[in-house]
Amino acid sequence: MTGPQIAFLPDRRRLHLQHGPIDLIIDAEGLGRDAALRAAAARFDSVLEELVAELPLLRAPTGPRPEGEIARHMHAATLPFRPAFITPMAAVAGAVADSVLSAMTGAGALTRAYVNNGGDIALHLAPGESFTAAIAGGTPGRATIGADSPTRGIATSGRHGRSHSLGIADSVTVLAATAAQADAAATMIANAVDLPGNPKITRTPARDLSPDSDLGDRLVTVDLAPLIGAEIDTALAGGLALAETCRARGLIHAALLTLSGQTRTLGAPDLIASKEPTHA
C-alpha cells in the first residue's frame, strides 16, 4: 500500500501532496512559507487514514456526529442541508483543504496561501492581499477575492468533475466562508440544476459506476442530449433558487452556475465576473 507522496511541482514553488484519491496543490507566501509547507506535509500525513477510519459513517446520510477533526468539519458543513439527501462526503474535498490550510497558517506568518484540492480551494489572505481564481466550466470566469471579503473558500461541482452529480449543471462555483461550506453548497446546487423526467438525460445508478459511492443506487447523470433554451432556463432556475436560499441563510456568499453555454450569477457582481473572450 502506498503512503502519502509529497513533491514540488516542476516550478519548485508549489507543493503537490497526494495520497490515494487526494491531490493537493499548495502554495504560501510570506516569512512563514517554509514552516507552513512543512506543517502542511505533517498535517497531510494522516488525513486519508483519519477519513478512512470513519468512512462508512461519512458515506451515510449526514446524521450522527463523527469523531475526526476533518470529519466533524464535513458533518457541520453538510448539516444545514438536511433533511435533503446529503452525506458528509459532499464536503470532503473542501474540508481537507480547510484543515491543511489551518495547519499552515498556524505554523508561520503568511501573506497569502492556498490549498487547492482538485478545484476546491481554501484561502488565506493577510490584510491588503487578494486572490484571483480562474473558474473552469462552460463559461470562462474569474473570481477575485480580497482580504476584506468574508470569502475564504471556493468550490466547483458539476457533472464534469471527479465525483458524480445528480444534476446536469456543467459547473457550479460557490464562494463561501470555508472551502467545506463552498464544497457542500456547490454539490447541492449542481444537483438542483436538473430537469426531472426529461428523456434527454441519461442516468445510471451511482453504485454501478462506483460500487462504494455514497450516492448508493441514486441515479447520476452520465449523458445529456442537446437542450433547448427553455430547458436550460428551467434547469438553471432550479439551481439558482437553491443558491438564493443558501445565500439568504448565510451559507454562501456568491455562486456561478453554467449549463450548455448559459450562465447565472448570484452575489456581489464584483466577486464573480464573466470574462469576455479575448481575441488577438
Binding site: T2, G20, D45, L55, S210, P211
Partner: protein, 490 residues
C-alpha cells in the same frame, strides 16, 4: 501477523477491491478508482505506478527513468535486469502465488526469482548513528512525534545505536503509537529524514546515508578512535613538539605521558592529574558527564577535568600542554605559568598539523538504517506450497534473499530473519498498510531445479522478458532504476 484485514466481501465478479491505499475502493469493470490512479481492466487492477526494474546498465543508481512499453528500446534484457519487488503488489494473507515469479538466466543456470511485496508486522530498523555525542542512556525510550517507537541500545565504536519498531510498538501499544511507529519506520526505510527524541537525552534527525543532526548540530566527523587509541596512533608525531597531550573522550580519555604509547617512546612525566576514574596507566573513564561538548562529554572548558599539577612528578613553569578531542574538532594549547596554572596560548603551527591529521583520519559521520524483518508465516506459501522448505533453502544458502535488490543478511537460527541496508534499494521501496505494518519488497532467487524441489509454483514462473512485455497481476508498466551499489552514498 496477527491483525487480519477484513475479509473481502462477496461481490459480483466484475467488481474488484483495490488495496492500493487505505480507501480500498471497489472498482467496477472498466472504471477507475477514486484516486484516478488504479483501474479495473479486464478484471484485474492496473496500477499506474510502474513495476521497478533494476537496470544494471544505468550507473550509480542516480537516474530514475520511467518508461512505457511504447518507448522501450527493447535492449533491457538478459542479465542486466533484475526484477525487484517494488511495485509488484501483494496479497495478504499470501494465499495466492506471489505476483511475479520470474525465471531468469543467471550465469548460465536457470534461476527463478520470486518477487513479492511482503507485509511485515514483525519488523523494525536498526540505526547506527556515527557520533560521540551522548544521545541518551542505554535503554532509554526513543520517541517520534511524542510516541514511543524504540530504544537506545548498546553503543558501538564511534557510533550510537538505536533499535526502532518491532511488533510491540507496531501492534502492542496504543493506536497512535502503532501508527507513528509504522510511519517512522516507513520514512526511515524510504530514506527520509526523521526527527527522534531520546528520553533524558538528545533530539536527533536521522536520515539514511546522511550525517546525523544532534540537537540542531550537524555531525561532520566520526571520531578517529577512543582517546586512548588516539594517543596510540599519534604519540610519535607529538614527541618533541609538546610536553603533554590529553585526548578528551567520554569513554576513555588518554594522557600521553602516562600511556603505554608514551612510555615506549620514553615520554617524561609531567605531574598532570586527571579527575576521573583511572583504568590502566594513561587511560581514564568518566572524566565528566556525557554530553554534547568535547569528545562526547559535557565539557566546554577542557581544563575542568584537570586537577593540581604536581611539581614533584615533573610539573614546571613553561611546560606545554595540548588538549584535543577525538575528532580534532576541539583543541586547546596551554603553557603552565609560574604558579603551575595552565594559560591558553595559540596553537603552534607544528602541532596544528597533528590536530588536522586527527580530523583527516576521521570518516564522515553518517546514519545507517538497516531494515530488519522476519519473513515467516504465510508469506512463504506465496513462494512454495511447502513453506518450511523455503526456510531451509534460505538457511542452506541455496536461495538468495534480497530486499528491493539489496543483499540481505539472513540471521542464523530459525526462520528467515533478515537485515538489509535501505540505501541500496530503489527510491520509495517501502510502503505500509493500516494494520499497521510495513510493506517491503522481497525477492527470493534460487536455481529452478531447487525451486521445483521445494514445491514452488513452477507453473507460474515466467521469463523477465515476458514480465516486461506483459506485466504481472498489477499491470504492465515498468520503470528502470539503476542498481544502487554499496558505498556510493547519497
Amino acid at each position: 501477523m496477527t491483525d487480519r484485514p477484513p475479509r473481502p466481501e462477496k461481490t459480483r465478479p466484475e467488481k474488484i477491491r483495490c488495496d492500493a491505499c487505505p480507501v480500498m475502493c471497489y472498482i467496477a469493470e472498466g472504471r477507475i478508482g477514486a484516486c484516478d490512479r488504479y483501474a479495473n481492466q479486464g478484471g484485474r487492477i492496473i496500477r499506474c505506478d510502474p513495476l521497478t526494474v533494476l537496470d544494471r546498465r544505468i550507473a550509480k543508481g542516480d537516474e530514475v527513468k520511467p518508461f512505457l512499453k511504447a518507448d522501450w528500446d527493447g535492449t533491457l534484457s538478459g542479465d542486466d535486469l533484475f526484477v525487484t519487488a517494488v511495485g509488484a503488489g501483494t496479497t495478504y494473507p499470501d494465499y495466492k502465488p506471489a505476483p511475479f515469479i520470474v525465471s531468469r538466466e543467471l550465469d548460465g543456470a536457470d534461476f527463478v526469482t520470486v518477487v513479492t511485496e511482503a507485509i511485515f508486522s514483525y519488523c523494525g530498523v536498526k540505526i547506527k548513528i556515527d557520533t560521540d555525542r551522548h544521545l541518551g542512556p542505554e535503554g532509554a525510550v526513543v520517541r517520534a512525534k511524542g510516541e514511543a517507537v524504540g530504544l537506545v541500545i548498546t553503543s558501538e565504536y564511534g557510533s550510537q545505536m538505536l533499535s526502532l519498531g518491532g511488533v510491540d510498538h507496531l501492534t502492542g501499544g496504543s493506536k497512535p503509537e502503532g501508527r507513528v511507529t509504522c510511519d517512522t519506520l516507513l520514512r526511515l526505510c524510504n530514506r527520509e529524514a526523521v526527527e527522534l527524541s531520546v528520553d533524558g537525552g538528545a533530539s536527533v534527525i536521522v536520515q539514511a546515508g546522511q550525517p546525523p543532526i544532534v540537537d540542531g548540530q550537524r555531525e561532520e566527523r566520526m571520531r578517529v578512535g577512543c582517546g586512548s587509541a588516539t594517543i596510540g596512533m599519534f604519540a610519535s608525531q607529538w614527541q618533541g613538539l609538546v610536553d603533554e597531550v590529553v585526548v578528551v573522550d567520554d569513554h576513555i580519555t588518554g594522557v600521553v605521558s602516562e600511556h603505554q604509547a608514551g612510555k615506549v617512546l620514553g615520554w617524561p612525566d609531567t605531574g598532570i592529574r586527571i579527575k576521573g576514574r583511572r583504568s590502566t596507566p594513561g587511560r581514564y573513564f568518566q572524566v565528566a558527564e556525557p554530553g554534547l561538548g568535547w569528545g562526547g562529554t559535557d565539557i566546554t572548558d577542557p581544563l575542568t577535568i584537570l586537577g593540581e599539577w604536581n611539581p614533584k612528578k615533573g610539573a614546571r613553569p613553561g611546560l606545554t600542554l595540548l588538549m584535543v578531542s577525538t575528532t580534532g574538532e576541539q583543541f586547546a594549547y596551554y603553557t603552565l605559568d609560574d604558579d603551575l596554572v595552565p594559560q591558553p596560548r595559540d596553537l603552534p603551527e607544528a602541532l596544528r598539523a597533528s590536530v588536522e591529521l586527527i580530523a583527516e583520519n576521521c570518516e564522515p559521520a553518517l546514519c545507517t538504517v538497516m531494515f530488519m524483518g522476519g519473513a515467516g508465516g504465510s508469506l512463504r506459501s506465496g513462494v512454495t506450497k511447502n513453506p518450511v522448505r523455503l526456510t531451509r533453502s534460505v538457511q542452506d544458502e541455496k536461495t538468495r534473499v534480497t530486499v528491493g535488490g539489496a543483499p540481505a543478511y539472513v540471521w542464523p537460527g530459525g526462520g528467515i530473519t533478515l537485515m538489509a541496508d535501505v540505501t541500496r534499494m530503489p527510491d520509495n521501496a517501502f510502503g505500509s498498510v493500516p494494520t499497521p505494518a510495513i510493506v517491503a519488497p522481497l525477492e527470493f532467487t534460487l536455481p529452478r531445479a531447487e525451486y521445483r524441489a521445494l514445491g514452488g509454483h513452477d507453473d507460474k514462473a515466467r521469463s523477465v522478458d515476458d514480465i516486461l512485455e506483459h506485466g504481472g497481476d498489477y499491470g504492465a508498466d515498468v520503470r528502470a532504476v539503476g542498481p544502487v551499489t554499496g558505498k556510493d552514498g547519497a
